[in-house]
Amino acid sequence: MSAPAMPEKVAAVTPVKSGAFGLRHYLICLKGIIVRECLRFLHQRERFISSLVRPLVWLFIFAAGFRQVLGVSIIPPYKTYVLYEVYITPGLCGMILLFSGMQSSLSMVYDREMGNMRILLVSPFPRWYLLLSKMLAGVSVSIAQVYAFLIVAWFWGVKAPPLGYLFVLPALFLSGMMLCALGMLLSSMIKQLENFAGIMNFVIFPGYFASPALYPLWRIQEASPLLYKLCLANPFTYAVELIRFAFYGQIDWVSLGVVTGCTLLFLGGAIIAYDPSRGLITRKQGTGGNG
């Protein structure tokens, strides 16, 4: 059937630009996204408690149990023998960042399914900026969790040099950014929330165990050269080492380079994936409603 003509004639006009967003507007947007992420985290008490309980279980039970079994020789950055609890603390900080980064991307899959994500994506700010803000929000929450864990660990007798708590902040930030960016990239590839559980098993557990979070790399090399190579190929390895050295006011340059490079790579991938003209989202998504 032919379409009846639109009776009224409307003419195209020269588009009128409204005032461009300034720095203040960008900061308002960033603040709003961070505040929302923090509010969501605080409203989900179970998430807050589990984020603390998980590393504390490792510290209180696993580390205590394996203290006598897994000896740690003097390796940089340590200048003396350290308790096993001290050794695994940077790894547990990394674990918090890893779980939190993945949880943040899990929330993106959830938001996308529930429609909340659309509110973010139809903001007039550039898409890359929105995703970066979302990542910064996720990292802020992750770092708060790490410091909450470190306070409890301090009372348990696991103490880093006082200035280490300050020096470790940039390392936590960079590592958190890398893991959030990875999570964001993964979330763009997942169509449904149910599929995310599989990715968690293929990313979180291999990533965590194939790293020096729980045991030094030289011990892994002795046990299995293949696993050692896998550890070297694992970005999480470098995140843990970056954090470990930072606690003692040192920079592991190789780790810094790898973590920075991976952050840029994952972030670039996530931005492309969420770009409607090039990304995976358009290809993955079917019709959004009935119509």
């Binding site: 009128v16 308002i28 119509g291």
Partner: protein, 262 residues
């Protein structure tokens, strides 16, 4: 609330211009060469049965998907090339509920304000005014989870108006609501067209939401099959009413018109 931008003197402004737009999901064609335009301060109903392509069209207009064939302009700004400028002028109410249930009404609206660069002080004033507009004053601190379906929709409409758009898109905004809630929301939106000069594109499959003075755009399985004022569409289709016209226009692929009950 500001009135719709009027553009150059002497010209009649196009609020939304959809030109030759097609979209596919893999091999499945969802929209096929759709073209229409709407003027400011008009209420245009996008009619179509389920699967007609209404939500796909909304996703393209709101730049959730990129327009690969054809172009979409909002007040002259191409959605693909100048999405920021275009999206600043449009408020959207999606078919799916998009409120964060764990947050309060104020927190939901404040979040949206920040996504449009609106500061806290300004946002607070706008939120207070808009909650009055949608008849939800005094509910700022209620958790979104505690609201009824109709109340959530009202909050979503307030949110869509928060950055003072000149064009409002509503995708099946009354689906799942009782008759009273539907009528209330529809009346609120129609009033906005009259008092604020906002252009509205109202997607629905409920034919009783169309009034005689409206413009309609009818989609059938991705094809545009009619557009214009209600009287003109009725006349061109040879029907006696818009209900019959919609039934005829949808007939070749569907058994009948949509049920008017929610």
């Amino acid at each position: 609330m500001q009135h719709a931008r009027t553009g150059k003197a002497g010209d009649e402004v196009v609020a939304l211009d959809v030109a030759g737009v097609s979209h596919s999901y893999g091999p499945k064609r969802a929209l096929n060469d759709v073209s229409f335009s709407i003027a400011p301060a008009t209420f245009t109903v996008l009619l179509g049965l389920n699967g007609a392509g209404k939500t796909t069209l909304f996703s393209l207009i709101s730049h959730l998907y990129d327009t690969r064939r054809g172009s979409i302009r909002i007040f002259g700004h191409d959605v693909s090339r100048a999405s920021g400028e275009a999206l600043r002028r449009v408020g959207i109410v999606f078919q799916a509920r998009t409120l964060d249930l764990d947050l309060s009404v104020y927190q939901n609206l404040s979040y949206h304000a920040s996504l449009h660069g609106i500061g806290r002080h300004e946002a607070r004033q706008r939120i207070a005014a808009l909650l009055g507009t949608v008849d939800m004053q005094g509910r700022e601190h209620d958790k979104a989870r505690s609201l009824s379906g109709g109340q959530m929709r009202r909050i979503e409409i307030a949110r869509a108006l928060l950055h003072r758009p000149s064009l409002l898109l509503l995708d099946e905004a009354t689906v799942g609501l009782d008759i009273q809630s539907r009528a209330g929301i529809l009346a609120t939106i129609r009033k906005l067209v009259e008092t604020e000069g906002i252009g509205v594109l109202w997607a629905t499959h409920l034919i009783d939401e169309v009034e005689d003075g409206d413009h309609v755009v009818v989609l059938r399985q991705g094809d545009l099959v009619a557009k214009g004022k209600v009287a003109d569409v009725v006349k061109a289709s040879g029907a006696g009413s818009i209900r019959d016209a919609f039934s005829r226009l949808s007939r070749s692929e569907a058994a009948g018109i949509a049920e008017t009950s929610p």
